[in-house]
């Protein structure tokens, strides 16, 4: 087993572990805990990204996701002063059926993934660094338009956030 493979297993394990802890933490049902584990998941994912030669995205992942988005989450949690989730009546039926559905989905996805029809190049020849991505983004028209649209989207988000959270005017 090569080092990258080992690292893969480590990061994969961490990703899934932290991911699981986001969803269901046996020790704490506090949203803050979830948020913190989400940050960790994202970081572990960034590790996987690096293994996949997506350096720029790994950085973005940490900067934008862990840095900005998750801070936003934490900020809101603090703002709302959310207490630890009270233990309400557990809906066993819901849990069983929900888990069933998810397992079903997982089974189907696995079935697809392991159907043995993947074509894969052995050696990585592409490097997803800033330069490469920047080149792609600004030279190929097919990315330009989405890029511009995303800017509108961000504007919409801005307007929306202001509208939704500004103080009510008389």
């Amino acid at each position: 087993m090569t080092l990258p493979d080992l690292l893969f297993y480590v990061f994969a394990f961490l990703t899934l572990l932290f991911g699981a802890l986001v969803v269901a933490n046996p020790f704490s049902r506090n949203p803050v805990t979830s948020a913190m584990f989400l940050v960790l998941t994202i970081c572990a994912l960034a590790g996987l990204f690096v293994l996949l030669n997506a350096f720029f995205l790994a950085a973005v992942q940490i900067l934008v996701y862990a840095g900005a988005v998750m801070v936003l989450f934490l900020f809101v949690i603090m703002l709302l002063d959310l207490k630890e989730e009270q233990r309400r009546k557990i809906n066993l039926f819901g849990i069983v059926t929900g888990t069933g559905a998810v397992l079903g989905l997982g089974f189907l996805l696995m079935r697809t993934i392991w159907a043995g029809e993947l074509e894969q190049a052995g050696n990585p020849r592409i490097i997803g660094d800033t330069k490469a991505l920047g080149f792609e983004l600004f030279t190929k028209g097919q990315f330009l338009l989405p890029f511009e649209i995303v800017s509108v989207l961000l504007l919409v988000a801005m307007v929306g956030v202001i509208l939704l959270s500004k103080k009510e005017l008389k």
Binding site: G94, T97, G98, A101, V102, G104, L105, L108, R111, T112, A115
Partner: protein, 662 residues
């Protein structure tokens, strides 16, 4: 085919349409002037009578036909057609003649009634319909007028519709007739299907030509094949041609059963007496009920096809009806009802005559009966009118003193009905009894003679109780003779009552209907004694029966204050009085069959079809909707779960279940 009408044809058409015109005018402008409505009706029928006389006198015996294409689709050709032959001419005379008298009489009888003009309109409508039956040259047209006669009878019986009993009687008459008509129309259809025509002349022609009807192959193709198609395509259902021709005869006879009130459809006629008395005289004695017999004579060639057994059946039905009705008449107390049962009984005679291959005598009896029975009914009406609408003979009595003209004419009518020589009834009844003998049908002969005795008995009872003795009620005591407009028709009708028997009517009829023995046509005096020459046995037995009946009645009822018979034969008398419980029996039968079926159908319609199936579907749909939307719990978790489950379903469906590649 555009008709070219002979003068006789025009005359016949005029006779037919005049009453219709009168009726239509009365209907369109009803309340304006009742008197003129009556005058128009009387004028129409009077003119009709004159024209009928002219036709009778001046046109030859050769049948004449006029056809207007009324309906012609595919192989169904129905003409509005008139047939003038001795038979129809005689009937024209009867209908218009008796009708005229009754119209005139009605002016007096219904004077002052608030629906005077409706009465005359209906009467004219009836006359039109009856004339239509008489003149029709095909079965379809006959059926049309047959039905119209039924409905005008319905209107006239129910003339006083505010009286519940009258309304019920009208309904009953119509419905009972309809049962007969049901058979009649099927018979017509069957005839048409077998012989390809409804025209009498054409039918007679094809029957004479060897009769496709009797033809084995035709018989199969007409009935067996389609029936076989329904029951079994291999055709095990086979109808023998004899059965087929008998069936045709019997179905057509059903029409006559209804109109002529033969057993078992006889129940409506006594109830029909709820109508005004002139109506009873015209419709339920002289004309409408005679239509059945007339029809049987008209289509005699269809009943008489070799292989058919219809006539035997008809004879027995007639004879049985004659007996049954006579027995019922014995214990009736209502003067009109006695006459009604007597009518039934006499119709039985006529039908029996037809059944005995003697349509001639049947028509003969029909003719004489029309005259004397109309006379009797009008006489009864006069009595009722005089006694302030009292109809119970036990509340009359002594009327011979106060109502001389009515008494004389009524007595003549009675004598004719009983068959006393030389009154008309004797000759026609004798002809029937003679045919029974000649056909070697001794049972029916005996039955005929016995019924003749019964007839004399109940008529004598009526006369003795109502006219003789003392007045038994105040109204009877104060009775006085009816006005001339009512009594003069009695007098006029009394003439044929006395003379029609020897007039030579039977000979005239014989020109249209083949008779088994040559008719007597030796002049009036010859005719008077002809029955004794022809078949003395029948004549003598007939007269003996009359004598016996009279003696018995006189012994019982001369000066009786109440009916002694129930005390003597109690049970049987009650049975006769209550009409052998036929009405009750029918009522029960209808309630267990028709009403039960109706209830079942209604229940099924309401609960199975509309309820279970329709409302059930509706309810189920709504229920499913209500259940389905329970998925919309409002909870995000449920939604997310359902969403995910949907995704799994879609993926599983496509990847696992529906994947041809794997």
């Amino acid at each position: 085919m555009e008709p070219t009408l002979s003068p006789a044809g025009y005359a016949a058409l005029t006779i037919l349409l005049l009453p219709l015109a009168a009726a239509v005018i009365a209907l369109v402008c009803p309340r304006r002037d009742p008197e003129s409505t009556a005058n128009r009706s009387i004028g129409a029928i009077a003119l009709g009578f004159v024209l009928s006389l002219g036709l009778f006198a001046f046109t030859g015996d050769k049948p004449q036909e006029a056809n207007f294409n009324w309906l012609s689709v595919g192989d169904l050709h129905v003409a509005f057609g008139l047939l003038l032959d001795p038979l129809s001419k005689l009937m024209l005379l009867i209908v218009t003649g008796v009708g005229l008298m009754i119209h005139i009489y009605s002016r007096g009888y219904l004077h002052g009634d608030r629906s005077y003009s409706r009465y005359f309109a209906s009467l004219s409508l009836f006359t039109f319909s009856m004339l239509g039956i008489v003149l029709a040259n095909n079965l379809f047209m006959m059926f049309v007028f047959w039905e119209l006669v039924g409905v005008s009878s319905y209107l006239l019986i129910g003339f006083w519709f505010e009286k519940g009993s009258a309304a019920d009687a009208a309904k009953k008459a119509f419905l009972t007739n309809r049962v007969g008509d049901f058979g009649f129309i099927l018979g017509i259809i069957l005839t048409w299907a077998a012989l390809g025509s409804v025209n009498f002349t054409e039918l007679a022609g094809s029957v004479e030509l060897g009769g496709r009807l009797a033809d084995k192959a035709a018989g199969f193709s007409v009935l067996a094949e389609p029936l076989g198609k329904i029951f079994n395509s291999t055709g095990w259902w086979i109808i023998h041609p004899n059965v087929l021709v008998t069936l045709v005869g019997l179905l057509l006879f059903m029409g006559a059963m209804g109109k002529s009130a033969q057993f078992p459809l006889h129940v409506w006629l006594p109830d029909a007496m709820e109508g005004p008395t002139p109506v009873s005289a015209l419709i339920h004695a002289a004309t409408m009920v005679a239509a059945g017999v007339f029809m049987l004579c008209r289509i005699f060639f269809l009943l008489n096809i070799p292989g058919s057994h219809a006539l035997e059946f008809i004879a027995w039905i007639g004879g049985f009806t004659a007996l049954l009705a006579a027995l019922m008449a014995l214990q009736q107390n209502d003067i009109k009802r006695i006459l009604a049962y007597s009518t039934l009984s006499q119709l039985g005679y006529m039908v029996m005559a037809v059944g005995l291959h003697a349509p001639g005598p049947a028509m003969f009896h029909l003719t004489t009966h029309a005259a004397f029975k109309a006379l009797l009914f009008l006489g009864a009406g006069s009595v009722i009118y005089a006694c302030h609408h009292e109809q119970d003979i036990w509340k009359m009595g002594g009327l011979r003193e106060t109502m001389p003209r009515t008494w004389w004419t009524f007595r003549w009518g009675t004598l004719a009905l009983c068959g006393v020589w030389p009154f008309a009834g004797f000759f026609s009844k004798d002809a029937i009894l003679a045919s029974a003998l000649e056909h070697n049908n001794i049972p029916l002969f005996v039955l005929g003679v016995f019924v003749a005795g019964l007839t004399t008995f109940y008529m004598s009872r009526l006369v003795l109780v109502a006219f003789c003795g003392q007045a038994r009620s105040e109204s009877a005591g104060h009775a006085h003779e009816s006005p001339g407009v009512m009594t003069w028709p009695l007098v006029v009708l009394a003439v044929p009552t006395l003379l029609a028997g020897a007039w030579g009517i039977d000979a005239y009829i014989a020109k249209a209907l083949p008779s088994e023995h040559p008719p007597h046509d030796g002049g009036f005096v010859d005719n008077l004694f002809a029955p004794f020459n022809h078949n003395i046995l029948a004549a003598v037995f007939g007269l003996l029966a009359v004598v016996a009946g009279y003696k018995l009645a006189r012994a019982l009822y001369a000066n009786a204050a109440s009916d002694p018979l129930p005390g003597k034969i109690g049970f049987l008398a009650n049975l006769a009085r209550d009409r052998f419980y036929f009405d009750e029996l029918y009522g029960w039968f209808i309630s267990v069959t028709q009403e039960t079926l109706a209830k079942v159908a209604d229940w099924m319609d309401r609960w199975i079809i509309a309820g279970l199936l329709v409302r059930g579907t509706h309810g189920t749909t709504e229920l499913v909707g209500r259940v389905l939307r329970l998925a919309q719990t409002g909870s995000l978790q449920t939604y997310a779960f359902l969403f995910a489950a949907g995704v799994v379903l879609v993926l599983a469906w496509q990847l696992v279940l529906n994947s041809p590649a794997h």
